[in-house]
Amino acid sequence: MNFDKELDARGLNCPLPILRAKKALAEMTSGQVLRIIATDPGSVKDFQAFAKQTGNELLSSAENNKEFEFYIKRK
């Protein structure tokens, strides 16, 4: 999937992946896509909730090798 910006949140724990993602999205423009890689297993549910609350669209959420990959489209 194409993306405009990438956030490496590996090794970071709650709530840092969310806070860093929020910051990254704030620097992007509407319609741009942010790719996030995280290792915090709690981030799967957290990014769902984050997307729902903020209106930014969670395009995909996947796990491979204990790493979690999210694509979020900025509102």
Binding site: L12, N13, P15, L16, I18, D40, Q53
Partner: protein, 204 residues
């Protein structure tokens, strides 16, 4: 008085129709109000140890990231959380049976041991708290958990409002110079209306 029965009939019809239409209408309106409203949270932070410094700042920074309006009211030992330097926050395992006492280094089998040190021993060893605190700080680092200074900074950047209980500032002999800038010093009467209108209100 020929009109009276007719009015009664009309009233009945109106009532019936309203009963049919209103529930859906009210529900839709309530949903609309709820969705257009910015959620808000008010936290009362009363604890001044390294462990208890986390809940207010984690919740405040996350809520702000979700777009909520957040206010934290710092009072009593919570004043320690707004000091300029928060690197000296301590944690005590003494009289705290909920706290696991594990080592943040060494092989896995060693890290897995929960050291059951009796209170009387803990109390008798000078510097026990300092050692426990540095072990906790190491554990925090190992787990990729943010420092309190970082979470506080992120909270402020995200627009979390800090208000401080002036009475406890005086009670504990602090001065405003001891604390970070840009905070309001208020009393209970100023905080309560904020708490009243907030969706989430927490005492920590």
């Amino acid at each position: 008085m020929g009109a009276t029965p007719e009015i009664a009939v009309i009233d009945d019809l109106i009532r019936q129709r309203l009963d049919e239409l209103l529930p859906a209408k009210i529900e839709a309106k309530l949903k609309e109000i709820q969705e257009s409203k910015t959620p808000s949270m008010a936290i009362i932070a009363t604890k001044g140890t390294l462990d208890w410094a986390y809940p207010p700042f984690i919740l405040a920074s996350t809520a702000a990231a979700l777009g909520w309006d957040v206010t934290i009211f710092f009072t009593f030992y919570g004043l320690n959380l707004v000091k300029k330097d928060v690197s000296d926050l301590k944690v005590s395992p003494l009289g705290n049976p909920g706290m696991p006492m594990k080592m943040p280094f060494g092989p896995d089998w060693f890290k897995g041991i929960n050291w059951n040190i009796p209170n009387i021993v803990q109390a008798g060893i000078p510097g026990f708290e300092t050692v426990a605190t540095s072990l906790m700080q190491q554990t925090i680092k190992n787990n990729g958990v943010a420092s309190i200074a970082e979470l506080r900074e992120l909270s402020r950047e995200a627009g979390v409002k800090f208000v401080v209980c002036q009475m406890t500032v005086e009670l504990f002999g602090f001065s405003h110079d001891d604390f970070v800038d840009d905070m309001d010093y208020v009393g209970a009467a100023s905080f309560l209306p904020v708490a009243q209108t907030s969706d989430v209100c927490l005492f920590i």
